[in-house]
Symmetry: C3
Subunit: 441 residues, 3 copies
């Protein structure tokens, strides 16, 4: 549990809050590249860290991120015209470049220098790895490079990113991203389902450790190691029959990423404001492009290979024109009580919606004073300490190191089986080549 | 009128409020039995007295009512799996019995005793008379028995309960339940309608006193008598032509029931929170089951025998999957201005919707400092005094007596015609056998 | 820009606020006459200056405007029955006349004088010029006459009024009504569109100054003159080719009207509350009725003669049963990004929706501390000063003069071309006959 004060510090991200200040020291993914696909495409609203902004790509492909409202009379620049070299407010035609400079002010006489005095708040923006990134902190602390996730350098066809709205504070999403023990219930099929012929046929001959061993031990032992990106989280499950341990190494990467041992994938849980975040699902393959089928399944919201209900729609897709899932808190995620009786614990298909249910129903900001954390929550406790510690440090002038170790972010999750006498530290050493190597499909 | 302070005391029902404390001394109907029909059926959200809870019926049919959020990490147990002997949270599998005890905590090692330290807030729940009842107060003051309404003991087929959401504070609904003079307008047809052949044909030969005499006198004289369940309310109408009095005896039963002289029916107006309540419509017949036609009409929301517009839909039915009426404040109850010109005073069909309109349009909590109460409001004044008095008493340690006189709740409403020289007290004596007798159809 | 305090004073209109007090000194258009078309028609909710009221027209055609809730027990009189000589509450039948007097109280005995003590808050209401007007201020300051706009005296068929909801504070709408320079962008076609054959064909041989010259100069010079209705606003555009000036005279009439030089039309921006206003579009022709086609186009929301996209729907019509446009802030006014690329600056068709976008996206109350006002904003600055000045004066007991110069309101907007050496004051003299003359079609 956290105190009220700790929860406040952990969850509030607006300008001037301790956590808001900390998050602003990092490059932040704000959009999928598809949202600003080409020069002079329509501008996009960006609400991030409680700030209302507009992003656009100008005629030369440069990215801009500026305050939403025109400096003249406060009309929204989301409705502006993105035209030759800038974004023009539709009310009186004031025009801004990507740096927020007013570059045309037709309402003034040509000799006026009024426009030189007008500048929008603007932030640095960059393309990278299929995402659009922004830096909202003080310029003097801006890390020169984006974090070097593996997906940053692969060809476009090797990547498969999606995003959707999660209607709760980002810290609840982070908790879920770290806490791999929940896969034993939230994402798992019922015993009765696992005993069906259909299921047995499905896993027959499989070498997928996740499928075979994830639910072998409901009380995995958690261990963490502080790294230069955040935390390496080891979860050790006892394989009774084989007298071995099944290990999963997840990662928490400051300030809101998690990497799981499945398909080289990770998540970024980016705060929109105190009550909402984006869940970016980041996937890539080093050695080959995604197949058309994989891509279609993912974009349609179908879990790729471990959805126990088999081929079902993960989130029922997105509400057209939005990144909000059709299945959401307003409709109880369309829970299927028969599925909950017969197939899995949730009555929900798809890990994304299962995660949303678990996190969103806590309330927009969970009341952590009511929590009862157990032994499987120690990685969460560590991650919270890390975040709160950095936020406090920053208030005292101590800058976080992680924004300046971009190369550390190339780590991936792994899973493996080891003899029981191999320690956590020894496992890390043995896995080091995989943790930091290129990722095969 | 009431002062601001009195209104606050009357209407606020959350934990720790004077009225909230008082209400928690009583057994409270929280659900229709149909909402938890069988062992291991889906759990149901229950918001009552501003508390967010989940009700469920376990594998052995026992009822549970516990706080909504799991003690572990605050995921909603509404999404939990109701399975062998308890409700299991879908996030990490913590499982609770009907008493709120954590009976399985798979994330801890078998030898851990952590689960013994975890307990959800839970309340006593019981089946009774087609309803599900809860007691939300301190255990030491829990009345041993449920109130003995007449419908409690009749066979299931003799009962016909419905409920719907009323989007205002419960005290406004109580006022309406007591105030029988409003039937002269809110539920009455226009003179012009009463003069139609269709209407005359309809009441021809009728012996229904309500139909014949209710609107004979718009200014009935009200009298009240304090009883061991609350108030007996007598409304006396002058029958000019016959030189007699037409009497109606309604009842206000603490803390939120009313019984009317029609069909042995009554209402419970149960606070969801300060701004919403459930209107339970409770009907039963001692001597026979409801016919299929009666049942269909009632469930379809059709007023059973005194809807002046004749066979119309009372509330347009419920929005599927909810207990909210299709006709509600958001659509002005679909008022029909032509009906209001030609047929009745409201342009609304069905007493339920008429009552909702009258009560809900006052605002979520009516501003009682603006009221002008007249002679027909004296029963309301008495009932408010009774409630406020008990609330104040309780703050001073004086427990209410009513929760402990369950047998008093078997009273029913009656109507009759008497000679003018029979006093109120004499009428009560004469009606005593009917007031407390078994109810014929 | 304005300070926070000035913005508060300018925008808050509830009872007891300085601006609210000032507005209440004026007769205010509250409804279209079509909303209360005949005696005993259904009553209408009127929210104006943050007050919730009900308007009705009694059996003799008299208008009433009274507080919404019945004095008895606070049920809404919007649901009342408008019947012989008054509005009867549907709950217990209390009945009120247009002056708010309780004229029937059937729940009291005939000899009771309780009803003489009950009176609703009520305001003076009048028909005039196709509108329904109310005076919400102190009776002793009530102007004897309605403002004498030109449309007040023309036959009904010569008028064409509409209204719709604008979801922002009225002061933003006033700014837009005064600020004619925005027509160069917000309401203008792109150069690329103006070069199309279709457009050239359209304006061929036109003598419409607006069409020909409006966009000839993006930085018009603004001048204002204090008048006995408010401000005459002159905007002077340089016509380079012809070595002349194109002038437009708009008017700001206290406290929320604007008159433009197009079709004798004007606007009233009437505060509903601090966050919403009605935009009344007021049009009339002195010399002839509107044609059927003109009427249909206007009522369908089609801009009459200068919609650059040609014959398109101005606002997509109104949501049935409301005066809210289908295209509104909730759907980003259904912006068409292709139209914005190819045709005009906004991607929106119709001046009404263009204005709404510009004003509403500022937020419900624009943050005027962030504005940067330029030379084309001087009329706005003057108008704000005028309003704030009158509001401050009134707090000090100095009554505004404008409510008592109704004849001054007959002014109209004009446009014309003049030699460069004719001064603003000379222009006013020359235009005086047109400014105050009858308006031809």
């Amino acid at each position: 549990m956290l105190s009220v004060e700790q929860t406040e510090m952990l969850t509030r991200v607006g300008p001037g809050t301790p956590m808001g200040d900390l998050l602003r020291r990092y490059w932040t993914p704000i959009l999928l590249q598809e949202e600003l696909p080409e020069p002079d495409c329509p501008p996009v609203r960006v609400r991030i860290f409680c700030e209302d902004l507009v992003a656009f790509r100008d005629s030369e492909g440069r990215l801009g991120l500026v305050e939403e409202l025109c400096a003249h009379r406060q009309t929204s620049l989301f409705f502006g015209r993105n035209e030759e070299g800038g974004l023009r407010c539709a009310y009186h035609g004031w025009k801004y470049d990507v740096a927020g400079n007013c570059i045309d002010m037709p309402t003034e006489s040509p000799e006026s220098n009024f426009k030189d005095k007008v500048k929008l708040i603007s932030y640095e923006v960059r393309d990278g790895g299929g995402l659009i990134w922004a830096y909202l902190g003080p310029r003097e602390f801006m890390p020169p490079e984006l974090p070097q996730f593996r997906f940053m350098d692969v060809p476009e066809e090797h990547r498969l990113h999606t995003k959707y709205l999660r209607e709760c504070n980002f810290a609840q999403a982070i908790d879920g991203g770290i806490d791999s023990v929940h896969t034993n219930f939230l994402h798992a099929g019922l015993d009765r389902y696992r005993k069906t012929d259909a299921y047995k046929e499905r896993i027959k001959g499989s070498t997928d450790l996740d499928l075979l061993y994830r639910t072998a031990d409901d009380a995995p032992k958690f261990m963490t190691k502080r790294t230069d990106y955040g935390l390496l989280v080891g979860a050790r499950r006892n394989l009774e029959a084989e007298n071995k341990y099944y290990w999963r190494f997840n990662h928490f990467l400051m300030p809101f990423y998690s990497m799981t041992p499945r398909g080289g994938g990770g998540h970024a849980f980016v705060p929109i404001d105190d009550y909402n975040c984006w869940s970016f699902n980041l996937s890539s393959k080093v050695d080959r492009p995604y197949t058309e089928e994989e891509r279609e399944r993912q974009l349609a919201g179908i879990a790729m290979d471990h959805d126990l209900a088999g081929g079902v729609n993960m989130h029922g897709g997105l509400i057209p024109g939005t990144y909000r899932t059709v299945r959401n808190r307003d409709n109880d995620f369309l829970i299927d009580r028969t599925m909950q009786k017969e197939v899995n614990f949730t009555g929900l298909a798809g890990t994304g919606i299962q995660d949303s249910m678990a996190q969103v129903t806590m309330g927009a900001i969970a009341n952590r004073t009511r929590e009862h954390l157990g032994v499987t929550d120690i990685a969460i406790i560590q991650a919270r300490r890390l975040m709160l510690g950095q936020a406090i440090d920053l208030q005292e002038g101590i800058e976080p190191a992680e924004p300046h170790t971009p190369e550390a972010y190339s780590v991936v999750g792994v899973q493996f089986v080891e003899e029981k006498d191999v320690t956590f530290d020894e496992c890390i050493e043995r896995q080091r080549p995989r943790l930091y190597a290129e990722l095969g499909s």
